[in-house]
Symmetry: C2
Subunit: 192 residues, 2 copies
């Protein structure tokens, strides 16, 4: 009774994500999760039907911000400012749920065929379409994709670079915004 009553489900998800992120999904057994919580494997099965259900639950809770972003983006005019705002919001979502996205990033092979409606990658593709201009030259399309990828790079790989974390995050966002601006500049130059 170290903890309160109705939160076992949540605690399972918390511990599971921690272990999944640390060791990978397959290498983490239910026994391990149960031990960390001081319960038995059987107890987990009261809260989740399968192991997959655990990760699906985590995913759905934390991926909601991305879905909201996709929904929001669908209603906006396709201006440069909209695209920049998409990148800002995506950057923010990535930062808020960093452990989850780190897990998704490092376990794509596992996550790929979970019984989830949309995968991480599909959401990525959806966002990508909003910031792409179908008529743009290939190089500008690459710039747009790279803008999103730069945000990922910032979230997952910037630990290898020294500097104040907040300052780094800001720089990452700036580079992404620069890229999308460059992608649009060529278009405007063409129209002029």
């Amino acid at each position: 009774m170290a903890q309160a009553r109705g939160n076992t489900r949540q605690r399972i998800q918390d511990v599971a994500l921690e272990l999944f992120a640390e060791q990978g999904y397959e290498k983490t057994s239910l026994r391990e999760i149960a031990e960390r919580l001081d319960v038995t494997k059987a107890a987990l099965y009261y809260h989740f039907k399968t192991k997959e259900d655990i990760i699906i639950g985590i995913f759905q809770d934390l991926a909601r911000p991305i879905d909201e972003l996709v929904a929001w983006a669908a209603e906006q005019p396709r201006t440069l400012e909209t695209k920049k705002e998409i990148l800002r919001r995506y950057h923010s979502a990535l930062t808020d749920a960093a452990p989850l996205f780190r897990f998704m990033h490092e376990n794509q092979a596992t996550v790929r065929d979970l019984s989830i409606g949309l995968t991480f990658k599909e959401r990525f593709v959806a966002l990508n379409e909003f910031i792409q201009d179908p008529a743009a030259p290939i190089k500008d399309k690459v710039r747009a994709v790279s803008a999103i990828f730069a945000l990922h790079a910032g979230t997952f790989f910037m630990q290898n670079i020294e500097g104040d974390p907040e300052e780094k995050q800001e720089a990452v966002l700036e580079v992404a915004l620069d890229l999308i601006e460059q992608a649009e500049q060529a278009k405007q130059a063409k129209q002029a």
Copy 2:
């Protein structure tokens, strides 16, 4: 005897990489690899001491170009042209061994603690250091990391964008080169 004699080891590696890339390392069993080759599991153990040895063998064969690139880079002056050449060669290595790098990318959690001397990520970090200027402002450091990441984006995510594959690959490299040039421009402006 559908195939020749001394190539069984190679055939195991080929099939294994194919399955590992498709389903992930953990979800691919030795039984599955053996079945695909029409041999038994025990036969695999004649050629490889463990399952891990199979992936390590694949990795070492195909990662050698990266190691050579790192070694080459260490001997070059740290000019802009060197950095651009590093990106060109890395892009080329990525393209040549795309299935392996795709596997590495999607199975980082698994690959992380294999008994390999250097991980994929460590090589990435090494290359990153060669194209970084320690004195540069954070934003330029981010640009440099993003240049490498753009190459990865190109190798793994560009399938979602229509266009001629070769043209796309060229555009990817151009964007990466642009990023490293931008990172250096600020520095030169500062010196002037």
